[in-house]
């Protein structure tokens, strides 16, 4: 496993070859689910990154919008302007394909940042709890327990509400995305803390940690230099599965109207806008953003499942 995780300073070519030959890469190549899922994720991520280049319209530039284009069904020319849109347009005449690309950007950015933040908080608190034990561990893990009794969405809404109350109105839209990230991260760190603590408790008693203490290494070098690299594989698995959950959490919050503002719509905001038109026949405004969200969350989740199996030697 270790040759797949980090092999610093080897010649690049042999390293690639070594990686390709490793059990990890082999298990990837022999799992069609993993290959397809990662392909979908890569396409969606690239689409999000290069949205300004790919999108035929900029849906947030009022100058390019034509209200006459509103409610154009997918693939058919508009009755007034004769313009054709691949996935149709919404009520404002915005190209749905373009809004999805931009929405994907927001969704992925919020999801990835939230997971990263949750990971940093969770890993540090989990390591500290496991290494020091005693009342520090009790305190951290009880906070985690208490937090788990509230649904994640509720915690996120609470934080969102407080943040909204204390930020001045003119900054609210700009702040919204960052508040969203913090809200999701704070409802998600518990998982990381628990997993890291569990793994670190096992590692802590291994003899290499004692050897490091014997040399005279301090607590923090031992925690981060010795224990941390050995508990990273479960963290990687949790991070992947959390990413899917964070993207869904963001979509849920945005759907509820407490997330990304309509000026910077995420996939969730798009779905919220679309659901108003579902029963009046304009199904495409809801359908395509929802499909994109589904494809993204499902692929990331499947990738996480595969990763868990591939990194677990017992299931091989």
């Amino acid at each position: 496993m270790s040759d797949t995780m980090e092999t610093p300073k080897a010649a690049p070519k042999t390293r690639m070859a070594k990686f390709w030959d490793s059990d990890f890469a082999w298990s990837f190549r022999h799992s069609p689910v993993a290959v397809i899922a990662s392909l979908v994720v890569v396409i969606l991520v690239l689409a999000a990154i290069f949205a300004p280049l790919i999108a035929p319209y900029n849906p947030f530039n009022p100058a390019t919008l034509n209200l006459m284009n509103g409610f154009t069904p997918p693939g058919t020319p508009n009755a007034f302007t004769q313009e054709t849109f691949l996935l149709g347009t919404d009520d404002q005449g915005r190209d749905v394909f373009s809004t999805i690309l931009y929405g994907l950007r927001i969704s992925l950015f919020v999801g990835a940042s939230a997971v990263l933040l949750a990971l940093i908080i969770g890993v540090i608190l989990g390591l500290v709890a496991a290494y020091f034990g005693g009342w520090i561990e009790t305190l951290i893990m009880r906070i985690a327990d208490v937090q788990l009794t509230f649904p994640a969405i509720l915690v996120a809404m609470l934080i969102f509400g407080i943040a909204k109350g204390i930020t001045p109105p003119e900054y609210r839209d700009e702040m919204a995305i960052y508040v969203l990230i913090i809200a999701i991260a704070l409802s998600d760190w518990v998982q990381f803390a628990r997993v890291v603590r569990g793994a670190a408790l096992v590692e802590k008693n291994k003899e290499y940690v004692q050897a490091a203490r014997l040399i005279g290494r301090g607590s923090f070098p031992i925690m981060f230099r010795h224990i941390l690299p050995n508990v990273l594989s479960p963290v990687l698995v949790i991070a992947t599965i959390s990413l899917a959950l964070a993207i869904i959490a963001e979509a849920t919050l945005s759907f509820l109207g407490v997330g990304a503002p309509p000026t910077q719509p995420s996939l969730g905001t798009l779905i919220r806008i679309g659901q108003g038109f579902l029963f009046s026949g304009e199904w495409w405004i809801l359908f395509f953003p929802a499909c994109t969200l589904l494809a993204l969350a499902l692929s990331v989740n499947l990738l996480g499942d595969w990763l868990r199996d591939a990194l677990n030697p017992k299931l091989r």
């Binding site: 290499y208 004692q210 050897a211 490091a212 014997l214 290494r217 690299p229």
Partner: protein, 568 residues
């Protein structure tokens, strides 16, 4: 006719990269009432033979060729259903760890009765009576109450007796015992082996005893088969194979066994298979700081050392209960000597080592090193100096090296931490050290998992020597290693003591190893030192009853060939 015959058995494990042959055309047979020893080092394929006979080969393992016959009937290659009828009934098994081979949720009675009824049928009353007789027979006192207890209420040795009763309860023809005493203390080991021997005789059961321990083989088997790398290299009566080994591998194996009666200068370097790895102690000695082993004053003075572990937590101090692991222990270690501590598991010997290493704070008493009070962990400057001077070699070479660190980083860590050298010098020093312990300087670029157990222990030694310490703590340094690797490592430790003037604290449960290594020995029992003696004196005239009991139970190995051994 033989009870069990294995002919030309080949077991293969196809893996992604290559076909791994675990057992290569092995043949052996077991007679009724006979104990047939199967000996070899780890990876020799001895457990795989046991699994193949039981039909318990783990996927993707398969029998590629050969036959296994039980009482003239072929049992290899029969379907799973038929095999299940035989397993447990005609052939049963005793596993290494009695803690995991019994179901913790059922009482001993329930487990025995279920097995008896499944295989022999009959009423519950009959099964109950049978269970009681068996528990009585395997030497568990007070069978009526013990039967209704759960496995965790039994000690390790008693649990293994229950496992033996379970193996015997269906009147099997053959029992496969896979390292049945490896997890047990010496005193218990002797009793369990005697019991197996007795029962095999009494019930005319054939036993295959799989072990890596030559002492167990010499003491309790009738015939023995020696395996190396999946092949049978030698087979015959125990007296013949142990006394006049023919094959070069058997000779090297027997020569590497530590003897309780004969102190060797060095273990003979008869290597077989693996390449010779040198240990360049002379190179090392050239750069080693001259130590002045002043013998007038002890290097270590340890007085009234005590360690208590919290057994029951409680908010209030009087609610807590403690377990005294080390109780008022005092001894001296003189400069340049190897001081041994022996005892059974739980005697507190490792706790003493860890307190001296500063890994556990002391709860009472003092440790003085060269006149400095080192048991007081708060004095930073004394601690820093002390840590440069002591190092430790751990028991398990698989967990004592960080798997995510490169070997050169592992060896360099102590030097870096104590800021003994700057960058370029560290690299040269690390390469030198790895070269001197016989790994070659290229080893630094690899990760620990690329090395074998013995090589890893050499990495541990290189790390321990990096700060040029005066004192080395060895906590069971060879108990996880094969006997031939053990001989190599013990030779290295002897070299270190002799040529570098290192003082050592040597913790072990293995008396013959202690005999080879130590100048003086402390015998520990339940947290206390019962006897401290010169090693030769202890082995010749033990003063206390406990020490003489330990010596009595130790395998004697008198029948082993002494070819190529020289006393020192």
């Amino acid at each position: 006719m033989s009870l069990l015959t294995i002919q030309d058995l080949t077991v293969e494990f196809p893996t992604r990269r290559q076909l791994f042959t675990a057992v290569d055309h092995a043949s052996l047979s077991v007679e009724p009432g006979e104990i047939h020893g199967l000996v070899g080092e780890s990876g020799a394929g001895k457990s795989t033979i046991g699994a193949a006979v039981m039909g318990l080969l783990e996927r993707p393992g398969r029998i590629a060729s050969g036959q296994i016959k039980l009482g003239g009937e072929q049992i290899s290659g029969i379907d799973a259903e038929a095999m299940r009828g035989l397993r447990g009934k005609k052939i049963s098994m005793i596993f290494q760890d009695p803690l995991t081979s019994l179901n913790p949720l059922f009482t001993v009675r329930e487990q025995l009765v279920e097995t008896i009824q499944t295989h022999l049928g009959g009423t519950e009353a009959e099964a109950n009576k049978r269970a009681r007789d068996l528990i009585d027979r395997v030497g568990i006192p007070d069978p009526d109450t013990r039967l209704d207890q759960y496995p965790h209420q039994f000690s390790g040795g008693m649990r293994q007796r229950v496992v033996i009763a379970l193996a015997l309860c269906t009147e099997p023809d053959v029992i496969i015992a896979d390292e049945p005493t490896t997890a047990l203390d010496v005193s218990v080991q002797a009793q369990i082996l005697d019991l197996i021997k007795e029962l095999a005789q009494e019930r005319q059961v054939g036993v295959i005893l799989i072990t890596h321990d030559m002492g167990v083989i010499a003491d309790s088997t009738d015939r023995v088969t020696v395996m190396y790398a999946g092949k049978v290299v030698e087979s015959g009566t125990t007296a013949q194979v142990m006394g006049q080994p023919q094959h070069k591998y058997t000779k090297s194996l027997i020569a590497a066994v530590p003897r309780p009666t004969l102190k060797l200068h060095r273990f003979p370097q008869i290597s077989y298979g693996g390449r010779e790895t040198r240990f360049a102690v002379d190179d090392m000695a050239r750069h080693w700081p001259k130590v002045d082993n002043d013998t007038s004053k002890p290097l270590f003075e340890i007085r009234n050392l005590t360690k208590k572990f919290l057994q029951k937590r409680g908010l209030l101090p009087w609610d807590r209960t403690y377990f005294t692991a080390v109780d008022n222990v005092s001894f001296d270690i003189h400069a340049g000597e190897v001081f041994g501590v022996v005892g059974e598991s739980g005697s507190g010997k490792s706790t003493v080592a860890r307190m001296i290493a500063g890994l556990y704070p002391v709860d009472g008493g003092t440790i003085d090193f060269q006149g400095q009070r080192v048991s007081d962990l708060s004095n930073r400057s004394v601690q820093d100096e002390y840590r440069k001077n002591i190092q430790m070699i751990f028991q398990d070479p698989y967990s004592s090296l960080n798997p995510r660190m490169r070997v050169d980083e592992i060896v360099a860590e102590p030097i870096r931490h104590h800021r003994l050298m700057d960058g370029a010098h560290i690299k040269r020093r690390v390469d030198e050290l790895l070269d001197q312990v016989g790994l070659g300087s290229g080893a630094g670029q690899k990760y620990p998992h690329e090395f074998s157990g013995g090589q890893r222990q050499r990495i541990s030694i290189a790390r321990a020597l990096a700060t040029q310490p005066r004192f080395l703590i060895c906590d069971e340094p060879t108990s996880a290693l094969d006997v031939s690797i053990q001989a190599q490592i013990l030779n290295i430790l002897k070299d270190l003591q002799e040529h570098l003037g290192l003082t050592m604290l040597f913790i072990s449960h293995d008396l013959p190893v202690v005999r080879q290594m130590c100048d003086r020995v402390a015998v520990m029992k339940q947290g206390q030192i019962v006897e401290v003696q010169e090693t030769s004196e202890l082995f010749a005239n033990p003063k206390t009853e406990y020490a003489s009991e330990l010596l009595r139970l130790m395998p004697k190995l008198d029948d082993l060939s002494t070819d190529g051994l020289e006393a020192g």
